[in-house]
C-alpha cells in the first residue's frame, strides 16, 4: 500500500537568484547562480549529486528543448538529467520528481532546478502563442493570460453576487500586501510599495484587471537539493531539518473547458490537490494549522479565488479574510511572504522552487526580523499552470518537526 511522501525526504540546501529583468544574464547564467548558492547551503560537492531534474517552460526563447543544455551549463558529471515541463507548475514538478526518486531509494542526493529567461521577447507579458498546439491554434480565442484569468472575476462576481467594486477592493488589498512584502526582499523583482488607491487607478490590462493586478514577468532561477532525512540530519546537526510533508498535483480532465458543470469562478484542480495534500500531510484544519503560504498569484483575482480553493477561506468569503488582513504578513496565515509572483516575480519554470525557497528560509528563520513569520512550523506552496478552464495545480507542504 502506497504511503505517500510525508517525512520521507528533506531539503538539504536551496538557492535562488535575484528575480527581475536580468538583461545581463542567459538562463544558463541564472541556473549557475542559483546552483552555486544551493551547493554552498547544502555543504556538499557537485560530484555527490546523483541525478537532476531541470524545469523550464518556454524552450523556444530560453535554452531549447531537453535538459541537456542545462546539464552542460552546470557541468553535471554524466549523471541522469531530465527536463520537466508542466506550465507554471514546472519547478514543482522538478521538485516532485527529485523527492520521489530519493524516496524510492534510488538515489541519496538529487537536484531539482527551475529556470526561466522571459525577457528576450521584446514586449510585455508572456510570449505570444506559447505552444498550444496546431489544433488548438485554429480554434482558440485571441487570448492572453490576463484575459483568461480576468474572467475569473466576472464569473466570481456573477456566482456570488458580489459587485465588481468590492472585488476590485479585495484585489487591490491582495496586490498592496504583496508589494509591501516584496519591498522588504532584496531578491524580489518589484520592490516598491504601492497604495490600494494607486492600484485601483492603474490602466486596464484585461477587464477588470489593471496593471497592478498582474504579476511581474521576470527572469530567474531557483533550486533545491533533496536527500533523506537521515542524511540531512547527519550533515546538518545544528539546525532544523525541513521535511516534505505532502506533494499533490491535479490536472484538468476537460470538464471545466468542455463540460458545463464548472462555474468559472474557482479552480477545480486546486480544490482536489489541496484536499489530497492535507490528507497526506495530516493537516485537519489548514486555516489553523498552516503557518504561512505562497500561492500562485499570477493575478490578484487568482490569489483571491485560490484562498477559498485551498479550503482556508470559506467559499465566497475570501473578501472578508483579505480585507480583514488575515493573509497580511502579520495576519493569521501570511501569504506571499516574499512578495509572491506579484513582486518577487514569475519566471515560469522557476516559480515553484522559488516558493519552496521562501518557505524554506522562513522555516529555518533565516530572514531578517521585518519580514519574519512568527513561529513558522508548516508552509504551503501552490502553483497553478495553464488557464482557469484547463490547468495543472501543484501543491507542496513543507515543515519542521
Amino acid at each position: 500500500m502506497a504511503e505517500g511522501i510525508r517525512d520521507k525526504v528533506a531539503i538539504l540546501g536551496m538557492g535562488c537568484t535575484r528575480f527581475g529583468e536580468r538583461w545581463e544574464a542567459y538562463a544558463e547564467d541564472l541556473a549557475a547562480e542559483a546552483f552555486v548558492e544551493c551547493l554552498a547551503d547544502a555543504g556538499i560537492e557537485k560530484k555527490e549529486i546523483e541525478a537532476a531534474y531541470i524545469g523550464t517552460h518556454i524552450d523556444e526563447i530560453n535554452v531549447g528543448k531537453a535538459a541537456v543544455p542545462l546539464g552542460v551549463a552546470l557541468k553535471l558529471p554524466y549523471i541522469p538529467v531530465t527536463r520537466t515541463e508542466n506550465y507554471c507548475a514546472t519547478a514543482t514538478e522538478a521538485f516532485r520528481a527529485a523527492c520521489y526518486s530519493v524516496a524510492a531509494g534510488v538515489y541519496d542526493i538529487v537536484l531539482a532546478l527551475g529556470v526561466e529567461k522571459l525577457k528576450d521577447t521584446g514586449y510585455g507579458g508572456l510570449p505570444a502563442s506559447v505552444g498550444m498546439g496546431v489544433r488548438q491554434f485554429m480554434i482558440s480565442a485571441n487570448m492572453t493570460a490576463p484575459g483568461m484569468f480576468a474572467q475569473l472575476a466576472t464569473a466570481y462576481s456573477a456566482k456570488w453576487g458580489i459587485p465588481m467594486e468590492k472585488i476590485k477592493d479585495a484585489m487591490a488589498h491582495v496586490s498592496a500586501k504583496s508589494h509591501a512584502n516584496g519591498a522588504l526582499n532584496p531578491k524580489a523583482h518589484l520592490r516598491k510599495a504601492v497604495t490600494e488607491e494607486q492600484i485601483k487607478a492603474a490602466p486596464m490590462i484585461a477587464y477588470p484587471l489593471g496593471l497592478f493586478d498582474c504579476c511581474g514577468v521576470s527572469d530567474g532561477a531557483a533550486c533545491a537539493l533533496i536527500t533523506t532525512p537521515a542524511i540531512a540530519k547527519d550533515l546538518k546537526q545544528n539546525q532544523n531539518i525541513v521535511k516534505v510533508k505532502a506533494l499533490a498535483v491535479s490536472v484538468s480532465s476537460g470538464e471545466e473547458a468542455i463540460g458545463t458543470s464548472w462555474d468559472g469562478a474557482h479552480f477545480v484542480t486546486t480544490r482536489i490537490a489541496a484536499t489530497k495534500a492535507y490528507e497526506e500531510a495530516g493537516v485537519k484544519d489548514p486555516r489553523k494549522e498552516l503557518s504561512m503560504c505562497e500561492v500562485h498569484d499570477c493575478f490578484s483575482i487568482t490569489e483571491m479565488v485560490t484562498m477559498e480553493d485551498l479550503h482556508i477561506s470559506p467559499k465566497g468569503g475570501a473578501y472578508e479574510d483579505i480585507m480583514g488582513g488575515f493573509y497580511d504578513l502579520n495576519g493569521q496565515v501570511p501569504c506571499q511572504v516574499d512578495g509572491g509572483l506579484k513582486c518577487f516575480g514569475h519566471p515560469i519554470g522557476a516559480s515553484g522552487l522559488r516558493m519552496i525557497y521562501a518557505m524554506y528560509e522562513q522555516l529555518l528563520e533565516r530572514v531578517p526580523e521585518e519580514r519574519k513569520v512568527k513561529n513558522p512550523r508548516l508552509g504551503l506552496t501552490h502553483n497553478l499552470g495553464g488557464m482557469p478552464h484547463q490547468n495543472v495545480a501543484a501543491i507542496a507542504i513543507l515543515g519542521i518537526d
Binding site: I139, M148, L152, A155, P203, A206, S253, G254, E255, A257
Partner: protein, 485 residues
C-alpha cells in the same frame, strides 16, 4: 415553377459617415463633395467578402433543410482566394453537403446576376435543385478617391429552386461589352476607373436602356407592367434621366441604398432584389438589372408564397443593426490601407497547416462538435473520449453542429494585451443552449454593454490574416444579441 424560394441579406454593423471621410481627405480632391452625403457600410476588421457571404447565406437558409441544397454559387470580385475555391469554404461554413456543385463567379460586377441566372438555368434544366446564390463585396477605393466614398460593403443571398417559389423567374436578357469603366488587375488592391462622364453617358445611359428594351421586346412587355425596377446606377442625376427616358415611375424605382450602404459591386443587384422582396406583394413584377462589363436583366413575378415564408433578416433588419464608426483612420487600419502598429506581439508568425485544417475542417469552418451516442452529451471541440465522467465512452461520437445554436456568456473580458486591430480583444466562455461550452472571441460588440448571461449567436469571421503568405484564416466568433435579453 422555377424561381427564388428564400432570401437573406447582410450589412456589416459599422457605418462610416461620408462627411467624415471627406473631412479627412477632401483637401486632396475637393470635387468629392458631390459624393459626401449619407454613410457607407463598412466591414468590421474581422470581416471580408467571404464572411459576409456566409452571413447572408445563413440568413437565406434560415428555416430550410440544408441537406436539400445541391449547389452554392458565390459572386464577388473581392474574395480572399484566387486559387482555392471560396464557394467551397462558404459551403463548409454553411454546413452544406460535401456532394454539391460549388462555383465562384467573378470578373465583372454583373457576376452576381450571372450567378443567379446560372442557378435558375440549372434548376429549370432539372439538373440541380435548391441552389444558394450569393453576392458579396468589400471593394476598396484609394483614400481621397470618389470610389472610397461611393463603395459600401454588403452581401445578399437567394435560394433558387422549384418548390415554394416566392418569386417566379419569367425570363432574362443579357448584353456583354468589354467596357472598362472600372478595373482591377491581377495584383491591384484598389479599384481604378475612367472618367465619370464617359461611364455615365456611354455606360449607364446606353447599356441600361439597351438591355431593358431587349427584355421588354423579347417578352412583349411595357415598363408599366413592372411594380419595381431594380437597376444598378449610383449616379443620382443619371438615374433621374434614365427613369424619365425609360418611363420608370418614382414609386417603381427601387432604392439603391446608396445613402445607407453604398455601391456594393457584384452584390448591388442582389441587395436591391432582397430589399424589394421584403416589401413585395403577390403579383408584383420585378425587373432586375445589373451593370458591369455589360448588363443582365432578369424578370420575376412574386407569388402568393411570399406571405407565408420563414422569417429572414434580409437587408432592412440589418440596416437597423448599426453602430457608427466615428473614426476614419480606424477604417483605414481595418482595411490595411494604413499600416497601424499593433505591437511586437502582433508580429509573431501565424502558421496555417493545411493538412491540420483539412483534418479539422468541420470544426474550423462549420463549427461542428460531437454528440456522444451513448449518453447524449454534446461537446466542442470534438472529443474522442466523452467528457461526461459518468460515461467516458470512446469513439462513440456523431457530428453535432453548434454554428446555428444560441449561447449565453458565462464569463468575459476585454484584453488590452492581446494583439488586435480593434482593441480591447473581447472574448469569453459561451455555454450553448442544449449543452457544450467553449471559449470564443466576441465581435460586433462593446465591452461596456456586456454582462454574464447575455445571449449570443455565432458568426463566421476572419480569425487572422497571414501577410507573409497571403492567407486568410477563419473561425467562428460570438456576437452578443442585445435585442433578445
Amino acid at each position: 415553377m422555377v424561381g427564388i424560394c428564400s432570401y437573406g441579406g447582410y450589412v456589416p454593423r459599422y457605418r462610416l459617415k461620408r462627411s467624415a471621410v471627406y473631412q479627412a481627405m477632401g483637401w486632396m480632391n475637393p470635387g468629392n463633395i458631390a459624393h459626401a452625403r449619407g454613410e457607407k457600410a463598412v466591414a468590421n476588421f474581422d470581416e471580408d467578402s467571404l464572411t459576409m457571404t456566409v452571413a447572408a447565406g445563413r440568413d437565406a437558409l434560415a428555416g430550410m433543410d440544408r441537406s436539400k441544397v445541391e449547389g452554392i454559387y458565390c459572386a464577388s470580385t473581392t474574395m480572399p482566394y484566387k486559387e482555392r475555391l471560396n464557394a467551397g469554404i462558404v459551403g463548409a461554413a454553411l454546413g452544406l453537403n460535401d456532394h454539391i456543385r460549388a462555383a465562384d463567379f467573378s470578373g465583372g460586377l454583373k457576376a452576381g446576376t450571372t450567378a443567379l441566372l446560372s442557378a435558375l438555368d440549372g434548376v429549370e434544366a432539372k439538373r440541380l435543385n435548391h441552389i444558394a446564390v450569393t453576392a458579396s463585396e468589400c471593394r476598396l477605393g484609394k483614400p481621397a478617391s470618389p470610389q472610397e466614398l461611393i463603395f459600401g460593403d454588403a452581401a445578399a443571398a437567394v435560394i433558387v429552386g422549384d418548390q415554394n417559389v416566392i418569386a417566379e423567374f419569367k425570363g432574362s436578357y443579357s448584353i456583354t461589352y468589354d467596357f472598362a469603366d472600372h478595373y482591377r488587375g491581377q495584383s491591384a488592391k484598389y479599384d481604378r476607373q475612367w472618367e465619370d462622364r464617359w461611364i455615365r453617358d456611354l455606360g449607364y445611359d446606353q447599356f441600361i436602356p439597351e438591355v431593358v428594351n431587349g427584355l421588354l421586346n423579347k417578352y412583349e412587355l411595357k415598363m408599366a407592367d413592372f411594380a419595381k425596377v431594380l437597376y444598378d446606377c449610383h449616379y443620382a442625376a443619371a438615374r433621374k434621366k434614365l427613369n424619365q427616358l425609360m418611363g420608370i415611375a418614382p414609386e417603381a424605382d427601387q432604392n439603391n441604398l446608396q445613402a445607407e450602404i453604398g455601391h456594393s459591386g457584384t452584390a448591388q443587384p442582389l441587395v436591391m432584389l432582397v430589399n424589394a422582396l421584403e416589401a413585395a406583394q403577390p403579383g408584383d413584377r420585378l425587373l432586375l438589372v445589373s451593370f458591369g462589363s455589360g448588363c443582365d436583366a432578369l424578370y420575376f413575378e412574386v407569388t402568393g408564397n411570399i406571405k407565408n415564408k420563414a422569417h429572414n433578416k434580409g437587408i432592412s433588419e440589418c440596416l437597423t443593426h448599426r453602430a457608427e464608426l466615428d473614426n476614419y483612420t480606424k477604417y483605414l487600419v481595418w482595411r490595411n490601407i494604413l499600416p497601424g502598429d499593433a505591437g511586437l506581439r502582433a508580429e509573431e508568425d501565424v502558421w496555417t497547416r493545411w493538412s491540420a485544417l483539412w483534418r479539422s475542417r468541420k470544426t474550423v469552418l462549420g463549427l461542428w462538435g460531437t454528440k456522444c451516442q451513448k449518453c447524449g452529451t454534446v461537446q466542442i471541440p470534438p472529443q474522442a473520449v466523452c467528457v461526461n465522467a459518468a460515461c467516458g465512452a470512446v469513439g462513440a461520437m456523431e457530428d453535432y453542429r453548434f454554428a446555428d445554436k444560441i449561447g449565453r456568456i458565462a464569463s468575459f473580458t476585454g484584453d488590452m494585451l492581446a494583439a488586435s486591430s480593434n482593441p480591447p480583444a473581447i472574448y469569453g466562455q459561451i455555454e450553448f443552449e442544449g449543452g457544450g461550452k467553449m471559449m470564443f472571441d466576441f465581435t460586433d460588440c462593446d465591452l461596456a454593454e456586456l454582462a454574464t448571461g447575455m445571449v449570443v449567436s455565432m458568426s463566421f469571421r476572419r480569425k487572422y490574416y497571414d501577410e507573409k503568405r497571403d492567407i486568410s484564416g477563419y473561425f467562428w466568433k460570438a456576437v452578443p444579441m442585445k435585442e433578445v435579453q
